[in-house]
Protein backbone atom coordinates (compact mmCIF):
# COMPACT_ATOMS: atom_id res chain seq x y z
CA UNK A 1 0.00 0.00 0.00
CA UNK A 2 1.27 3.48 -0.80
CA UNK A 3 0.72 6.61 1.30
CA UNK A 4 -2.42 7.68 -0.56
CA UNK A 5 -4.08 4.29 -0.15
CA UNK A 6 -3.17 4.22 3.52
CA UNK A 7 -4.38 7.77 4.05
CA UNK A 8 -7.83 6.88 2.70
CA UNK A 9 -8.07 3.99 5.16
CA UNK A 10 -6.71 5.72 8.27
CA UNK A 11 -10.07 6.73 9.68
CA UNK A 12 -11.54 3.24 9.29
CA UNK A 13 -8.33 1.77 10.74
CA UNK A 14 -8.66 4.01 13.76
CA UNK A 15 -12.23 2.80 14.32
CA UNK A 16 -11.38 -0.87 13.85
CA UNK A 17 -13.63 -1.01 10.77
CA UNK A 18 -11.04 -2.41 8.33
CA UNK A 19 -10.87 -6.10 7.39
CA UNK A 20 -7.98 -7.77 9.30
CA UNK A 21 -5.76 -8.17 6.22
CA UNK A 22 -6.06 -4.46 5.30
CA UNK A 23 -5.60 -3.40 8.91
CA UNK A 24 -2.35 -5.35 9.03
CA UNK A 25 -1.09 -3.67 5.85
CA UNK A 26 -1.92 -0.23 7.25
CA UNK A 27 -0.23 -1.08 10.53
CA UNK A 28 2.95 -2.16 8.71
CA UNK A 29 2.95 1.01 6.65
CA UNK A 30 2.49 3.19 9.75
CA UNK A 31 5.53 1.63 11.40
CA UNK A 32 7.74 2.66 8.46
CA UNK A 33 6.22 5.99 7.35
CA UNK A 34 6.53 8.97 9.73
CA UNK A 35 4.28 11.22 7.58
CA UNK A 36 1.35 8.77 7.67
CA UNK A 37 2.08 8.11 11.34
CA UNK A 38 1.69 11.85 12.02
CA UNK A 39 -1.57 11.99 10.08
CA UNK A 40 -2.87 9.01 12.02
CA UNK A 41 -1.96 10.64 15.33
CA UNK A 42 -3.81 13.81 14.27
CA UNK A 43 -6.95 11.90 13.33
CA UNK A 44 -6.83 10.07 16.65
CA UNK A 45 -6.50 13.35 18.53
CA UNK A 46 -9.52 14.75 16.68
CA UNK A 47 -11.57 11.68 17.61
CA UNK A 48 -10.42 11.91 21.24
CA UNK A 49 -11.34 15.59 21.50
CA UNK A 50 -14.88 14.84 20.34
CA UNK A 51 -15.20 11.75 22.52
CA UNK A 52 -14.16 13.86 25.51
CA UNK A 53 -17.03 16.34 25.20
CA UNK A 54 -19.03 16.35 28.43
CA UNK A 55 -22.52 14.85 28.41
CA UNK A 56 -25.07 17.41 29.54
CA UNK A 57 -27.94 16.25 31.76
CA UNK A 58 -31.26 16.58 29.91
CA UNK A 59 -33.74 19.00 31.48
CA UNK A 60 -37.04 17.62 32.89
CA UNK A 61 -38.84 19.80 30.34
CA UNK A 62 -38.27 17.08 27.71
CA UNK A 63 -40.27 14.45 29.62
CA UNK A 64 -42.94 16.98 30.59
CA UNK A 65 -43.28 18.25 27.03
CA UNK A 66 -43.48 14.72 25.67
CA UNK A 67 -46.31 13.94 28.10
CA UNK A 68 -48.12 17.15 27.10
CA UNK A 69 -47.89 16.30 23.39
CA UNK A 70 -49.10 12.77 23.97
CA UNK A 71 -52.08 14.13 25.93
CA UNK A 72 -52.90 16.37 22.95
CA UNK A 73 -52.75 13.30 20.74
CA UNK A 74 -55.14 11.49 23.09
CA UNK A 75 -57.63 14.36 22.64
CA UNK A 76 -57.22 14.14 18.87
CA UNK A 77 -57.80 10.39 18.89
CA UNK A 78 -61.00 10.89 20.93
CA UNK A 79 -62.24 13.25 18.22
CA UNK A 80 -61.37 10.59 15.62
CA UNK A 81 -63.24 7.99 17.65
CA UNK A 82 -66.29 10.24 17.84
CA UNK A 83 -66.22 10.67 14.04
CA UNK A 84 -65.99 6.89 13.56
CA UNK A 85 -68.94 6.33 15.90
CA UNK A 86 -70.99 8.95 14.03
CA UNK A 87 -70.32 7.10 10.80
CA UNK A 88 -72.13 4.08 12.20
CA UNK A 89 -75.39 5.91 11.31
CA UNK A 90 -74.81 5.97 7.53
CA UNK A 91 -73.55 2.36 7.71
CA UNK A 92 -76.75 1.34 9.49
CA UNK A 93 -78.94 3.15 6.97
CA UNK A 94 -77.16 1.38 4.07
CA UNK A 95 -77.80 -1.95 5.83
CA UNK A 96 -81.41 -0.84 6.37
CA UNK A 97 -81.87 -0.48 2.60
CA UNK A 98 -81.03 -4.17 2.26
CA UNK A 99 -84.21 -4.95 4.23
CA UNK A 100 -86.55 -3.03 1.92
CA UNK A 101 -88.81 -5.50 0.16
CA UNK A 102 -89.72 -3.04 -2.64
CA UNK A 103 -86.15 -3.09 -4.03
CA UNK A 104 -84.93 -5.73 -6.50
CA UNK A 105 -82.95 -8.59 -5.01
CA UNK A 106 -79.67 -7.62 -6.69
CA UNK A 107 -79.93 -4.08 -5.25
CA UNK A 108 -80.71 -5.39 -1.76
CA UNK A 109 -77.72 -7.73 -2.02
CA UNK A 110 -75.55 -4.80 -3.16
CA UNK A 111 -76.65 -2.68 -0.18
CA UNK A 112 -76.03 -5.58 2.18
CA UNK A 113 -72.51 -6.10 0.85
CA UNK A 114 -71.72 -2.35 0.96
CA UNK A 115 -73.15 -2.04 4.48
CA UNK A 116 -71.14 -4.99 5.77
CA UNK A 117 -67.91 -3.69 4.18
CA UNK A 118 -68.55 -0.18 5.55
CA UNK A 119 -69.30 -1.50 9.05
CA UNK A 120 -66.26 -3.81 8.93
CA UNK A 121 -63.96 -0.94 7.95
CA UNK A 122 -65.38 1.16 10.79
CA UNK A 123 -64.81 -1.66 13.24
CA UNK A 124 -61.16 -2.09 12.19
CA UNK A 125 -60.60 1.68 12.35
CA UNK A 126 -62.24 1.82 15.75
CA UNK A 127 -60.06 -1.01 17.11
CA UNK A 128 -56.90 0.71 15.85
CA UNK A 129 -57.88 3.99 17.46
CA UNK A 130 -58.72 2.27 20.74
CA UNK A 131 -55.39 0.43 20.72
CA UNK A 132 -53.46 3.67 20.16
CA UNK A 133 -55.53 5.39 22.81
CA UNK A 134 -54.87 2.63 25.29
CA UNK A 135 -51.07 2.83 24.90
CA UNK A 136 -51.09 6.64 24.99
CA UNK A 137 -53.20 6.78 28.14
CA UNK A 138 -51.13 4.05 29.80
CA UNK A 139 -47.89 5.87 28.98
CA UNK A 140 -49.35 9.15 30.24
CA UNK A 141 -50.17 7.52 33.59
CA UNK A 142 -46.76 5.87 33.80
CA UNK A 143 -44.87 9.08 33.02
CA UNK A 144 -47.10 10.93 35.50
CA UNK A 145 -46.26 8.44 38.24
CA UNK A 146 -42.56 8.77 37.52
CA UNK A 147 -42.44 12.56 37.60
CA UNK A 148 -44.88 13.07 40.51
Amino acid sequence: MNCEEVSRRLSAYLDGELPPAEAEQVERHLRDCPACGREYAELRQAAELLAGLPQETPPPAIAQGLRRRLRQRVALLFVGLAVVLLMILPAASVLGLALRADLPLWARFGFLLSGVCFAGALLIWCCQLLRRLQSLVAYGFLAGERTS
Partner: protein
Amino acid sequence: MAEEASDEDLVVAFKRGDVRAYDMLFRRYQAPVFNYVSRMVGSRQAGEDLAQETFYKAFVALGRTRTETHFRAWLYRIATNAAISHLRRRGGQSVSLDGGEDPPEVPATDTSDDPEASQLRRETAEVVHRVLRLLPDSYRQILLLRDHHGLSYLEIGEVMGLSVEAVTSLLFRARREFRQRYLEAAVPPGLGR
Protein backbone atom coordinates in the same frame (compact mmCIF):
# COMPACT_ATOMS: atom_id res chain seq x y z
CA MET B 1 -38.84 -5.91 32.05
CA ALA B 2 -35.25 -5.59 33.32
CA GLU B 3 -33.30 -2.34 32.96
CA GLU B 4 -30.53 -4.16 31.09
CA ALA B 5 -32.91 -5.55 28.43
CA SER B 6 -31.69 -4.96 24.89
CA ASP B 7 -33.23 -2.31 22.66
CA GLU B 8 -34.68 -5.04 20.47
CA ASP B 9 -36.43 -6.72 23.42
CA LEU B 10 -37.84 -3.38 24.55
CA VAL B 11 -39.13 -2.55 21.07
CA VAL B 12 -40.84 -5.95 20.80
CA ALA B 13 -42.36 -5.51 24.28
CA PHE B 14 -43.65 -2.04 23.39
CA LYS B 15 -45.25 -3.36 20.23
CA ARG B 16 -47.04 -5.95 22.34
CA GLY B 17 -48.50 -3.12 24.41
CA ASP B 18 -46.02 -2.79 27.29
CA VAL B 19 -45.58 0.98 27.60
CA ARG B 20 -42.98 0.56 30.37
CA ALA B 21 -40.66 -0.67 27.62
CA TYR B 22 -40.92 2.68 25.83
CA ASP B 23 -40.28 4.47 29.10
CA MET B 24 -37.04 2.51 29.47
CA LEU B 25 -36.01 3.40 25.92
CA PHE B 26 -36.81 7.03 26.66
CA ARG B 27 -34.67 7.04 29.81
CA ARG B 28 -31.87 5.22 28.00
CA TYR B 29 -31.68 7.63 25.06
CA GLN B 30 -32.94 10.89 26.51
CA ALA B 31 -29.49 12.28 27.33
CA PRO B 32 -27.70 11.13 24.13
CA VAL B 33 -30.47 12.44 21.86
CA PHE B 34 -30.68 15.75 23.73
CA ASN B 35 -26.90 16.24 23.54
CA TYR B 36 -26.81 15.25 19.89
CA VAL B 37 -29.54 17.59 18.66
CA SER B 38 -28.32 20.46 20.88
CA ARG B 39 -24.88 20.21 19.33
CA MET B 40 -26.26 19.76 15.84
CA VAL B 41 -28.23 23.01 16.02
CA GLY B 42 -25.95 24.83 18.48
CA SER B 43 -28.72 25.70 20.91
CA ARG B 44 -29.79 24.14 24.20
CA GLN B 45 -33.35 25.47 24.02
CA ALA B 46 -33.87 24.19 20.48
CA GLY B 47 -32.24 20.92 21.57
CA GLU B 48 -34.94 20.48 24.25
CA ASP B 49 -37.73 20.99 21.71
CA LEU B 50 -36.10 18.73 19.12
CA ALA B 51 -35.45 15.93 21.63
CA GLN B 52 -39.08 16.12 22.68
CA GLU B 53 -40.22 16.02 19.06
CA THR B 54 -37.95 13.03 18.40
CA PHE B 55 -39.41 10.96 21.23
CA TYR B 56 -42.96 11.97 20.33
CA LYS B 57 -42.51 10.91 16.70
CA ALA B 58 -40.78 7.70 17.78
CA PHE B 59 -43.67 6.85 20.13
CA VAL B 60 -46.24 7.38 17.41
CA ALA B 61 -44.27 5.60 14.67
CA LEU B 62 -42.73 2.71 16.59
CA GLY B 63 -45.95 0.69 16.77
CA ARG B 64 -46.41 0.99 13.03
CA THR B 65 -42.89 0.32 11.74
CA ARG B 66 -40.99 -2.94 11.49
CA THR B 67 -38.10 -1.47 13.44
CA GLU B 68 -36.93 -4.16 15.79
CA THR B 69 -33.26 -4.19 14.97
CA HIS B 70 -31.09 -1.06 14.88
CA PHE B 71 -33.51 0.93 17.03
CA ARG B 72 -30.68 3.32 17.95
CA ALA B 73 -29.97 4.16 14.30
CA TRP B 74 -33.69 4.61 13.64
CA LEU B 75 -34.05 6.97 16.62
CA TYR B 76 -30.99 9.01 15.59
CA ARG B 77 -32.42 9.27 12.08
CA ILE B 78 -35.60 10.83 13.48
CA ALA B 79 -33.47 13.16 15.62
CA THR B 80 -31.29 14.05 12.63
CA ASN B 81 -34.29 14.82 10.42
CA ALA B 82 -35.73 17.03 13.16
CA ALA B 83 -32.41 18.87 13.55
CA ILE B 84 -31.95 19.35 9.80
CA SER B 85 -35.51 20.62 9.39
CA HIS B 86 -34.84 23.07 12.23
CA LEU B 87 -31.67 24.29 10.54
CA ARG B 88 -33.52 24.72 7.22
CA ARG B 89 -36.31 26.65 8.93
CA ARG B 90 -33.64 28.91 10.30
CA GLY B 91 -32.80 29.80 6.74
CA GLY B 92 -29.98 27.68 5.44
CA GLN B 93 -27.47 29.08 7.90
CA SER B 94 -26.01 26.01 9.60
CA VAL B 95 -25.46 27.14 13.16
CA SER B 96 -24.63 30.59 14.46
CA LEU B 97 -20.94 31.23 14.45
CA ASP B 98 -20.90 33.35 17.57
CA GLY B 99 -22.32 30.58 19.71
CA GLY B 100 -25.99 31.50 19.32
CA GLU B 101 -28.37 32.50 22.07
CA ASP B 102 -27.76 29.48 24.28
CA PRO B 103 -25.04 27.14 23.05
CA PRO B 104 -24.67 23.73 24.73
CA GLU B 105 -23.12 24.20 28.13
CA VAL B 106 -19.79 22.99 29.29
CA PRO B 107 -20.20 21.99 32.96
CA ALA B 108 -18.38 24.45 35.21
CA THR B 109 -17.27 21.78 37.62
CA ASP B 110 -16.12 18.23 37.23
CA THR B 111 -15.18 15.50 39.60
CA SER B 112 -11.41 15.80 39.30
CA ASP B 113 -9.40 17.25 42.19
CA ASP B 114 -7.05 19.17 39.93
CA PRO B 115 -8.56 22.60 39.17
CA GLU B 116 -6.01 23.28 36.44
CA ALA B 117 -6.82 20.07 34.58
CA SER B 118 -10.50 20.78 35.04
CA GLN B 119 -10.10 24.29 33.60
CA LEU B 120 -8.12 22.91 30.66
CA ARG B 121 -10.83 20.34 29.90
CA ARG B 122 -13.46 23.05 30.06
CA GLU B 123 -11.54 25.33 27.69
CA THR B 124 -10.89 22.45 25.31
CA ALA B 125 -14.60 21.54 25.25
CA GLU B 126 -15.50 25.17 24.52
CA VAL B 127 -13.10 25.27 21.58
CA VAL B 128 -14.42 21.93 20.30
CA HIS B 129 -17.99 23.32 20.42
CA ARG B 130 -16.88 26.45 18.60
CA VAL B 131 -15.11 24.45 15.89
CA LEU B 132 -18.11 22.11 15.48
CA ARG B 133 -20.30 25.12 14.80
CA LEU B 134 -17.97 26.17 11.98
CA LEU B 135 -18.20 22.86 10.14
CA PRO B 136 -20.70 21.92 7.40
CA ASP B 137 -23.77 20.11 8.78
CA SER B 138 -22.79 16.72 7.35
CA TYR B 139 -19.30 16.90 8.93
CA ARG B 140 -20.71 17.94 12.31
CA GLN B 141 -23.29 15.19 12.10
CA ILE B 142 -20.90 12.37 11.27
CA LEU B 143 -18.32 13.48 13.85
CA LEU B 144 -20.91 13.57 16.62
CA LEU B 145 -22.46 10.25 15.62
CA ARG B 146 -19.16 8.42 15.47
CA ASP B 147 -16.79 10.06 17.91
CA HIS B 148 -19.18 11.28 20.57
CA HIS B 149 -22.06 8.79 20.38
CA GLY B 150 -20.09 5.76 19.22
CA LEU B 151 -22.35 4.60 16.38
CA SER B 152 -20.87 1.97 14.05
CA TYR B 153 -20.29 2.77 10.37
CA LEU B 154 -23.32 0.63 9.50
CA GLU B 155 -25.54 2.57 11.91
CA ILE B 156 -24.21 5.92 10.65
CA GLY B 157 -24.99 4.75 7.12
CA GLU B 158 -28.57 4.04 8.18
CA VAL B 159 -28.90 7.42 9.87
CA MET B 160 -27.45 9.41 6.99
CA GLY B 161 -28.62 7.23 4.11
CA LEU B 162 -25.04 6.42 2.99
CA SER B 163 -23.09 3.29 2.12
CA VAL B 164 -20.36 2.16 4.51
CA GLU B 165 -17.75 3.27 1.92
CA ALA B 166 -19.28 6.74 1.78
CA VAL B 167 -19.33 6.90 5.60
CA THR B 168 -15.63 5.95 5.68
CA SER B 169 -14.72 8.64 3.21
CA LEU B 170 -16.91 11.37 4.73
CA LEU B 171 -15.66 10.63 8.25
CA PHE B 172 -12.05 10.84 7.13
CA ARG B 173 -12.63 14.25 5.50
CA ALA B 174 -14.64 15.48 8.48
CA ARG B 175 -11.95 14.52 10.99
CA ARG B 176 -9.25 16.15 8.90
CA GLU B 177 -11.25 19.35 8.54
CA PHE B 178 -12.08 19.34 12.24
CA ARG B 179 -8.46 18.85 13.21
CA GLN B 180 -7.35 21.64 10.88
CA ARG B 181 -9.88 24.11 12.20
CA TYR B 182 -9.18 23.06 15.77
CA LEU B 183 -5.52 23.87 15.36
CA GLU B 184 -6.44 27.26 13.92
CA ALA B 185 -8.94 28.01 16.69
CA ALA B 186 -7.07 26.87 19.74
CA VAL B 187 -3.73 26.90 21.39
CA PRO B 188 -4.38 23.98 23.71
CA PRO B 189 -1.25 23.08 25.66
CA GLY B 190 -0.10 19.61 24.81
CA LEU B 191 -2.56 19.15 21.96
CA GLY B 192 -0.88 21.02 19.14
CA ARG B 193 1.47 19.56 16.58
